[in-house]
Symmetry: C2
Subunit: 521 residues, 2 copies
């Protein structure tokens, strides 16, 4: 363990002797408990809640949001934080104290800028919107969802205006996912990623080489897929005593304000194995992060990831950098063969891994390969900017969506369910999508750092052991929770600022090798 | 529809023109939303919550209870109710107004008598207690649970003292389940039930006749039992758009402050069919009641049953009076045969129904037959009185329990899990158990009334149709929710006060016929 890590461990404690810190903690505990209940209501809604309960659940969540908002904007909390913001800069206070005050202050400032009615209305709209979205998906008809998206856009614009911004209105929303990042900086980071994605896609298409998906198609019962997902999650280090695997329309991970209860969901396709399996690795990455946050941070806003981008870096690291590597499957493929012996007993691990890395322009983001994935995100990023900053008519959004798919990926959705209605995100707002590509960027940068510590990473992974990676991540990243700003954390973990070159190199090298392309171009 | 019912329907509305009623409704909505979230946290804990999440869930529930308590004791609410309690007696106000003010006033008075710290502590103890109870059950060791029961007893005594009572401390807790009932009145009502139960048990044992349980034993997969339970529930009229069936250690029904979301749980024994099937009918009875409450009462304390006893009368009516009758199974047995054809294709419905009415002294309350069931309750009622009014040492409770089982039922538990640890109730408090036998009493009285309206009840039930019973119950009872006090409601529905003679007659006639006893004795 290096000096930095020792420092971290020493500072993972709050100052007990300061009454103001203790008062802040007490208030954080209450807010965290209310947040946990809100997450529970949301979890329930997305996993098992009866269809006829949406109206009453909407009221419940609005009431809870209203109460939470009142406490989050208590003037006494403002006074306390105003005092503490300077106090904790003194050297006798810990990094944890400073992290706590920073995140509490940020939350207080955001909350005081938003009136309670706006927050309650947004909650109500979100609940009803999800209901409409599910119906619209079923009917393959965007028009059923459009009135709710219109309301969400209006509410998000109002929110952005109240929060304030320097460059564009969208920045205010982006800041909610990735503190202190701006759209113009995102554009800068995304430009080389867009370039490498389109270039690699073109080279692969031009090569005429294809990888068959037959290897991962067949008949896979939900029950057996669940068993496989659970086995892989256990092998990753996911702790089922503090979590569970469930099923939902859109996979997600939820902690309830605590590393003690971190649940994840997947969705199943009985004809297509990667749907659930890769979702398990993806959500498993999120879940490992949340489960590993220091218990010092229990019931505080620090018991969470540093940002959505950092969070996605961990889901993408486990899903892609690790979970689509040959070394990983050398160590785990036996589980797949055991659960589905008829299908896999005579298929070599190389063929299986190859099939997980098939590149093909497709319509569905969550099923996209690593080369095209970022193009899906860039489309959504551009559409969000148009909705928030521009004056695009809601009715024209599906055609805008379809046009962008033609332009970036050369294909077009047959209907809205596989088009603009595919993601749950726009039921709650905007600014999240860039996190996925930021996550890819960070994951390549962090993976590069891990490889420096473990030059024999591939050999060890191939033995079925990934615990050394988890331990490294816990020590350098996970235990810290939301103690640092994402940019500071990335600097701390990797020794440099966000740098897209690692992802560019990763995609170029990995897919040149898989498709046997000339590395020179 | 008679005059009474027309009156009911006319009064199932709140006075819109009175601002005070509207203010009360708004406050009720908020309290109901918070109650719904608390029920959700409890539902989650009992169905899927990971074992390692108990601590943090305890904090969340305590925080929620504290916030709810603060709102439930808001002095402004007290002023409002004090004004309304007289106002709503005027003839221009509706029965719904009067019911709302009555239940809100009752809740306010109870809440103001209990300090917030006591309520939060009770919540915290309940959550930790359930955890300890589950472990104690697993280890078959009451000692693991004893410290928590000791704390619950102390908290319940304090609660009773603060709520106040005229005769005995236990009355204060009983009132929480059955408003305005006292232990001495319960003893009066229970005496003839105890008498008929012991008499019929003795006569059956003396007759030497036995019914084999083999008919309902075998191999029944959880999956198929779930399917059967769902089919029977649908046939009863349970609406899955506003509910779902789940699995828990102890079966229960939960509404979340609304007829829109009423869920139930069962538990499975893969060797014993009635475990889940009869639990489905029992919980289904509770659920039909909750799902049928007038939507006028949505998000108010009226969206509930009139009392625990009235609630249990409906679970016991559907489970026993209907659900263990030959007429019912004549109409439903085909479903059982369809799900388990190998077992049941050649067993006649009479044999099947007979097996569901086997009388035998047993250790487990929820699996007990109708003849011995009330003895299980009388034991618990006596033990609760001893814990709350007396000075019994907690360590001696298992031997007291075992002694009572010897005395009343002639048998003794092998271990605490099938003895004193079998029920979840004592994790939260006392005063509920009498509701079950009150429920049996009320159910016989109400069933007698339904038979007066439908002399051809058995013939109709035998065709597979029970909707006429559900409709009668909806009209006369269910839609009214908690609008009337239980005694008033029973008087209204049956035309007389609680009368144990109906249950005495029901048990005597039914089991004399089943066991071929001489009706004369």
């Amino acid at each position: 363990m290096g000096t930095t890590e020792q420092d971290n461990l020493q500072t993972l404690a709050f100052t007990q002797s300061d009454e103001r810190i203790q008062e802040l903690l007490q208030r954080q505990h209450e807010l965290s408990d209310l947040g946990g209940l809100s997450s529970l209501a949301d979890w329930d809604q997305q996993t098992v809640m009866p269809a006829g309960a949406h109206e009453v659940r909407g009221h419940q969540m609005a009431t809870l949001a209203g109460i939470t908002h009142k406490r989050a904007t208590d003037p006494r909390l403002g006074e306390l934080l105003n005092e503490l913001r300077n106090v904790v800069q003194k050297p006798e206070y810990t990094e944890a104290d400073r992290g706590l005050v920073r995140i509490a202050l940020r939350s207080y400032e955001q909350a005081t800028k938003l009136p309670g009615e706006l927050v309650e209305e947004a909650e109500r709209v979100q609940v009803a919107s999800i209901d409409a979205w599910l119906q619209a998906r079923e009917q393959k008809d965007f028009a059923l969802f459009a009135p709710w998206l219109t309301r969400t856009i209006a509410l998000q614009r109002e929110k952005a205006d109240r929060l304030g911004y320097v460059e564009t209105r969208y920045d205010a929303l982006l800041d909610g996912s990735e503190p202190e990042l701006t759209a113009s900086r995102v554009e800068e980071l995304f430009a080389p990623i867009r370039e490498v994605s389109t270039r690699m896609l073109r080279r692969i298409m031009d090569s005429g080489k294809t990888i068959s998906s037959e290897t991962v198609e067949g008949n896979f019962s939900t029950e057996k897929q669940t068993q496989l997902s659970e086995t892989l999650l256990k092998a990753m280090g996911y702790n089922f005593t503090h979590g569970l695997l469930a099923r939902s329309v859109h996979p997600f991970t939820s902690s309830f304000g605590s590393p003690d209860d971190v649940r994840l969901t997947v969705r199943f396709d009985e004809q297509y194995l990667p749907m659930a399996m890769m979702a398990a690795l993806h959500e498993g990455g999120h879940a490992l992060y949340e489960q590993s946050v220091s218990r010092t941070f229990l019931r505080t806003y620090l018991a969470s990831g540093a940002s959505m981008g950092i969070h996605e870096s961990q889901s993408r690291l486990w899903e892609n950098v690790i979970g689509r590597s040959l070394s990983y499957w050398k160590g785990q493929y036996a589980h797949v063969q055991e659960v589905f012996p008829e299908k896999y007993k005579s298929i070599p691990v190389e063929t299986f891994t190859h099939a997980l890395n098939r590149v093909e322009p497709s319509l569905i983001r969550v099923e996209a390969d690593e080369v095209t994935y970022n193009l899906h995100i860039i489309i959504r990023f551009e559409m969000e900017k148009a909705m928030v900053n521009g004056d695009v008519a809601v009715e024209s959004l599906p055609s805008l969506w379809n046009a962008k798919y033609r332009e970036y990926l050369g294909i077009e959705p047959e209907n809205d369910t596989v088009g603009i209605l595919q993601d749950i995100h726009w039921n709650s707002g905007f600014g999240y999508f860039p996190s996925y590509t930021l996550g890819n960027l960070y994951s390549a940068q962090i993976a590069n750092k891990i490889r420096q510590s473990y030059p024999d990473l591939d050999e060890r992974l191939a033995t079925g052991d990934s615990s050394f990676i988890l331990n490294w991540l816990r020590e350098h990243l996970y235990q810290l929770g939301a103690m640092y700003l994402p940019a500071d954390l990335l600097q701390r973990v990797t020794g440099e600022a966000a740098n897209p070159q690692y992802l560019v190199n990763y995609l170029t090298e990995k897919f040149s090798a898989i498709y046997g392309l000339d590395a020179a171009e």
